[in-house]
């Protein structure tokens, strides 16, 4: 059963959208949206070499499942699967995939956006940007490193 897909999963391996889209597809669905969040090279003028993600895995998977429950309640007839990768990710690697199916397309779009917004608010996953000349945990506003040579 090693190939059985976990619908709310935090994993260290590379991720693909297709298995999650297949997972949520069913005869009652008329639309499937898939969102892939990828690693961006440039952020606010700083070049990222790679990203490090870490998670509180059991709580993160529980929170992803809660987001799925909320979506099924808000958009009846929808199905959801979400996977987030942790570890070191290179530019353009996929960090997160959200697949949502629904009877009609509007709900599939809306629910998918709801999922990524909730992930960014409540799911215990952290991203560290690794630059040529430094590194910083993103979203961690409690940590304020000294700013050096802002004009460079």
């Amino acid at each position: 059963m090693g190939t059985e897909l976990k619908p709310f999963h935090v994993t260290e391996g590379p991720i693909e959208a297709a298995p999650y889209m297949e997972y949520v597809t069913h005869p009652g669905a008329g639309a499937v949206t898939a969102f892939a969040g990828t690693v961006r090279e440039w952020t606010n003028g700083k070049r990222t070499m790679y990203l490090k993600y870490e998670a509180y895995v059991p709580m993160a998977e529980k929170k992803l499942a809660q987001i799925g429950d909320e979506i099924m309640e808000k958009w009846p007839g929808s199905r959801v699967a979400i996977v987030h990768r942790v570890g070191e990710l290179a530019i353009s690697d996929i960090a997160v995939v959200i697949a949502v199916s629904s009877p009609h397309r509007k709900a599939a779009y809306e629910a998918n956006e709801y999922a990524i917004e909730q992930i960014k608010k409540v799911v215990p996953i952290w991203k560290k940007e690794m630059w040529e000349d430094g590194e910083e945990w993103i979203g961690d506003q409690s940590y304020k490193p000294e700013k050096e040579s802002e004009n460079e």
Partner: protein, 77 residues
């Protein structure tokens, strides 16, 4: 005894991801105050606490055997 979990910047400041703390009785705030004293270099201002994998208010009781996680602002996605 309670089990503490650290992540991101706090994990680096503490130099460890987990540790156990001798514990009889108290609240999440008591755990937070202990951490602030133990790791004074880390700014806990925006940190939320989770007990047994659920976010809690600071008046939540913490009992021996509980897992308490310090959750800095998240940045997944």
């Amino acid at each position: 005894m309670i089990h503490l979990h650290y992540f991101a910047g706090l994990k680096e400041a503490a130099g460890k991801a987990e540790e156990d703390l001798s514990w009889q009785d108290g609240t999440a705030d008591d755990v937070l105050q202990w951490a602030k004293q133990t790791y004074p270099a880390f700014d806990f201002t925006a940190v939320q606490l989770a007990v047994n994998e659920e976010y809690v208010h600071l008046d939540e009781p913490v009992k021996p055997g509980d897992h308490v996680a310090f959750i800095p602002p998240v940045s997944g996605g």
